[in-house]
């Protein structure tokens, strides 16, 4: 469970990096389209071609941000209930909360462009929250292994399998 937990948390953090790359690619494509004499208007935008060669970037950003990350973050919260590490639930919940905020901001950007300032900064907060979640559980796993090694070394049978990380 701990391995799954940290795997999911790293996935969220990694997917945010994909998001940053995808949106930069998309806007690169759009600017390239304009530089070559193209015109970006609502009609082009709604026919999913405003990104030019970077259109795939918009699609990835929408799919990963609108579906993949929320699902993984949700799975992280569910898995956190089976991981006995102090703070695992808290950091998973925090990650999901930030993701929910991020998706809401993303859909609201068209109406209120200034929200883009928070959308970009909040992305970094998600990376931090997901990384802290992953690192905490990893540290607990390493600590457990160390104490288990020590326990087997001293032939002590009393080591708790449910050790709680300090």
């Amino acid at each position: 469970m701990r391995k799954l937990y940290s795997g999911l948390a790293w996935t969220v953090a990694g997917a945010v990096v994909v998001q940053a790359a995808a949106i930069a690619f998309a806007f690169g494509g759009m600017l390239n389209l304009i530089a070559e004499g193209g015109v970006v208007d609502k009609a082009l935008l709604e026919s999913f071609q405003a990104g030019g060669v970077g259109e795939l970037g918009f699609m990835i950003h929408g799919l990963v941000g609108g579906l993949l990350i929320p699902l993984v973050a949700l799975a992280l919260v569910i898995v956190s209930f089976f991981v006995r590490v102090r703070g695992a639930k808290l950091w998973a919940a925090l990650t999901l909360g930030l993701v929910a905020l991020q998706v809401t901001l993303g859909f609201a950007i068209v109406g209120s462009p200034y929200l883009g300032l928070i959308h970009g900064a909040n992305a970094l907060a998600i990376v931090v929250a997901a990384s802290v979640a992953a690192l905490r559980v990893r540290r607990a796993r390493l600590a457990d292994r160390a104490s288990a090694d020590a326990a087997s070394g001293s032939r002590s049978e009393g080591a708790s399998t449910d050790a709680v990380a300090a």
């Binding site: 208007d41 009609a43 026919s47 071609q49 609108g66 859909f107």
Partner: protein, 511 residues
């Protein structure tokens, strides 16, 4: 060796996960639509008890009689047709094909053609003509239909797959017949898998010329084209004007007026502006009453909407009319194109709510018989097994959206509010609606009569129309992917039924 406690915990987790997955699968499968009829879709858009009660009061006797006679009084959508005995004045055969669309001036794309080109041939009829169009589907694999966007055709000719007909399969044909009652600029397009077929070219323009020539526009005397169509469409990311990736030139004698019929067949709003004053003489096929000159403003044409503008050829040189973001038409002395350089798009938009001068409406909109809300919003959910962030109507997600039930000759009030973050070009089939007010501000110009209306985020529109065309009519967003994502409701007349279904054997998928 795992302890008993570990085994117990594993068992509990296993049962919990299995239950959660089972419940999830059940919830997911309950969203699958399968084959369905719009007849079975929800009701309950009605608001404003006074209006509705008033209707009940005045029509109680008639309503009771209709209910007593029950099914005997019902009429099928296929029977709501033009006079079958009247010979056609204009007869056209349109052959739909799937394949490569040649885009002159650009690169060709894979899509659909009508009679070998896209856009298909422009149909011209005179007001009062009976138009008969035969659609032949030669090779459109998903099947095809023709919808007459903006023309208030009888319901049988509306061309919506799964509501008024089955999609015409490969090798099949279908006859559309209607009287061209209202002069104006319209267009035709497929209403089967429309978000793909329209975007990829199964469309064309249809112009109904007035029975009496419009005195405001000089009639072509010497055969010069003083009445031109500007059909906008994006093919594979290429902005085209009448199917070509190129601007156009219209030779017009100095001082003459050219009518440009702008048809926006795209999925989003198009802007129209010029370097010289011009007038909007018609919107969605309805003349504007006493339109004033527009200078330093742009006109926005909703997706699916049409605007006819009158441009005066200058005494010397030419004037450039920008249609859509990328294309333009140079009008006047065609050899003097250099005298009409591109002009920057104005940032202020012509407000049609206060354009032209008032004129009495043909009906009393102050005391509607029915009053409906159409509130657009958005939330996460699952439609037909597909998760996503979907549009809602009055807080409900497709197919649980309202059915706007009306009786013939009702005056219907519609209150459209956009609580989402996107523009929605709302299109009602078979009727024209008059805009009474926006955000509580009453209309103060010429009657603003539309079939396609851009509703921007946060806006509220008070609309009214007369239920004078019995049938079952879609009332949907014409940014067609939005319709796929649930932004579709219907206006249904009492006593009208359809036997056509969606997702059934005929493969009808109107959106």
């Amino acid at each position: 060796m795992p302890s008993r406690r570990d085994l117990l915990r594993c068992a509990v987790v296993g049962v919990a996960v299995a239950t959660a997955l089972g419940a999830g699968a059940l919830a997911w499968s309950s969203t699958l639509l399968g084959e369905y009829s719009v007849m079975g879709m929800g009701s309950g858009g009605t608001t404003g008890g006074a209006g509705h009660a008033g209707h009940g009061g005045q029509g109680a006797a008639a309503g009771g009689a209709a209910e007593a006679s029950g099914l005997l009084d019902t009429v099928s959508v296929t029977d709501l047709a033009a006079d079958p005995d009247r010979p056609a004045d204009v007869r056209v055969e349109l052959v739909a094909r799937q394949g490569t669309v040649d885009v002159p001036g650009g690169r060709s794309i894979e899509g659909y053609t009508v009679n070998g080109t896209s856009p298909g041939p422009e149909i011209r009829a005179r007001q009062g003509d009976l138009v008969e169009v035969v659609l032949v589907n030669e090779s459109v694999a998903d099947g095809a239909t023709l919808h007459w966007h903006g023309i208030d055709v009888p319901n049988a000719a509306d061309g919506v797959a799964g509501i008024t007909q089955d999609a015409v399969p490969v090798g099949g044909r279908h006859v559309y017949r209607f009287v061209a009652a209202d002069a104006g600029t319209y267009w035709y397009h497929s209403h089967q898998v429309s978000h793909v077929q329209v975007e990829r070219g199964l469309l064309g323009a249809i112009v109904i010329e007035p029975a009496e020539p419009d005195g405001r526009i000089a009639a072509p005397t010497d055969g010069s084209p003083l009445d031109v169509t500007a059909l906008l469409h994006i093919y594979g990311g290429q902005h085209t004007l009448n199917g070509r990736v190129a601007d156009e030139r219209v030779s017009a004698p100095p001082g003459s007026t050219v009518r440009v019929r702008v048809v926006n067949t795209d999925q989003g709003t198009a802007a129209v502006w010029a370097g010289a004053p011009f007038r909007v003489v018609a919107v969605d096929g309805h003349d504007v009453h006493e339109p004033g000159e527009i200078e330093g403003q742009r006109v926005l044409v909703p997706a699916g909407g049409r605007v006819d503008v009158a441009v005066r050829a200058p005494d010397r040189g030419a004037v450039r009319l920008h249609v859509g973001g990328a294309r333009s038409i140079v009008i006047g002395d065609a050899s003097a194109e250099a005298s009409a350089p591109p002009v920057r798009q104005p940032s202020t938009t012509l407000d049609l709510l206060a354009y032209g001068t008032p004129e009495p409406l043909t009906f009393d909109a102050a005391s509607p018989d029915r009053s409906f809300d159409y509130v657009i919003s958005r939330r996460f959910g699952i439609i037909d097994g597909r998760p996503g962030n979907f549009w809602t109507i009055n807080g409900r997600m497709f197919p649980d959206v309202p059915m706007f039930e009306v009786a013939e000759s009702d005056v219907v009030a519609m209150h459209v509010r956009n609580d989402s973050g996107d523009v929605h070009p709302m299109h009602l089939h078979g009727h024209h609606v008059v805009v009474l007010a926006r955000d509580g501000v009453a209309a103060s110009g010429s009657p603003w009569v539309v079939d396609t209306l851009d509703v921007h985020p946060g806006e509220t529109y008070d609309l009214a129309f007369v239920a004078d065309n019995p049938g079952i009519w879609s009332d949907h967003c014409h940014t067609l992917p939005h319709a796929v994502d649930g932004l579709v409701a219907h206006v249904m007349y009492e006593g009208v039924t359809t036997l056509f279904t969606i997702n059934g054997e005929a493969g009808n998928r109107p959106e």
